[in-house]
Symmetry: C2
Amino acid sequence: MTSSRAARFGDAFLAVDWGTTNRRVYRIEGGQVVATDRDARGVTAVPADGFPAEIADLRARFGDLPMLLAGMVGSTIGWRDVPYVGVPAGIDTIAPRLGWIDDRTAIVPGLSFRDGARADVMRGEEIQLLGAIAAGLVPRDGLLCQPGTHCKWARVAGGVVVDFTTAMTGELFALLRGHGLLSTQLGGTVTPGAAFRDGVAAGKRRDLSAALFGIRASKLLGQRDDSDAASYASGLLIGSDVAVRLESGAGDVHILSDPELGGLYAIAVSANGGTPHVVDSHAAFAAGIIALAQALGE
Amino acid sequence: MTSSRAARFGDAFLAVDWGTTNRRVYRIEGGQVVATDRDARGVTAVPADGFPAEIADLRARFGDLPMLLAGMVGSTIGWRDVPYVGVPAGIDTIAPRLGWIDDRTAIVPGLSFRDGARADVMRGEEIQLLGAIAAGLVPRDGLLCQPGTHCKWARVAGGVVVDFTTAMTGELFALLRGHGLLSTQLGGTVTPGAAFRDGVAAGKRRDLSAALFGIRASKLLGQRDDSDAASYASGLLIGSDVAVRLESGAGDVHILSDPELGGLYAIAVSANGGTPHVVDSHAAFAAGIIALAQALGE
């Protein structure tokens, strides 16, 4: 980072939360989101050499401004592979490690965790996590959860991310729904009712492989209707995930999510003895990217 | 069962272990297997009205003899849906509950388990389990394991099956290998080496959803080579399965399997404090169907 680059992000800029299949664009002025839009131009929809044109198009639509890009755009399947920043990491750790495309276009690095036995990575979620802290949406010390295809569980301390774990809970649900033995049973809508709660309760055993087969057996023996199977399976997967994460002590869990998925995780957190708090993940992202832009200007 | 039917199975008969994708045919004379063959004519390869022709063909090839059919041939996707027999169940419980197609052709019922919280079913494995007991390949009281797409864990007591659990361990591996985030990493051969054992060790945490994502993260951070990923993932899935099953006390585990898959389960059983004994599953099936035929003649 140079001061000439950093100064450009002072007042107005664009930010993109650029994921694998979707992206959300924000125009920010004076520390506020003044425009935002979401589309399906995730990195897998953009050819390897197509990013300059995408950026030009976004500037044409949202303003010819400096841009900060976060998420999978900085990965091997994105525009440029920007090296991970190891935890512990906060806004001030990330700011000097941006991947600069040019003087007014930069990619935010993801975070990595590693010890002898375990490795983990994130790209994009770090901005939500640190934004939620910066905006006071969550405390500076605590357990944060970002549900999704690859659910992130982050431990923050002193306002920085110190440890995190990714659970491919949403992906497992999608795999089971799309293929194999249970696919014909899991087509229904997941609702936060009794079947979901039954699944969460069963998930406490952390015996996914057997509990999933039980969905098939329960149908064959007439014990559970297929209309409930998707909710039960979702409860089972989310419940297993939550049960492991709260094993060493249940307490406050701050869930950064849309209300629907956040509500499901909140049920599972409560069922495992924790206290859920659902936080708007879009507000957290905006707060994080604003905090990062401010750090660049300092 | 009538004595006129039963008497026909006294000396020589054919038996088919008829699964979803494969089947194995045995010609049995005087209590011995005198011919056997395996093909890919599982029930999903046979049209709904095609079973009489299949049977006629098998009799033309192996002898015009009475037949006992076990496995998915007795399910809703087979020839006729033969009702499950609830546990506890032994050979004498099953013998009067055969589904008779005609006076010399019968389908063996599967077993079911149910209590308030849990339901389970099997079709075909019961003959292996009870055959292993009848032939003295396993004790009359103990824990038996049948690895596979849907791994069965059966508790036998006094020579009958009293409880069992199915874990869809093999199916989860196939889903992960065939689709989604890890599919490009899991194409390798599973071998019983260090990576498999690392997976078994990680499986003890029973945190499948996160440990699976770790396979991706380890690659991105250069901690594990893709050539090891399939073995590690297999170890993780089998290790989780075994860890849950031995949670309430490790001891002898009798594994009815082919040597290769049986060897992998044996490693996981040992790593979780149990003592594995691998038993030939084909010998067990033959012993079981012979014991059943003898029970029909009594």
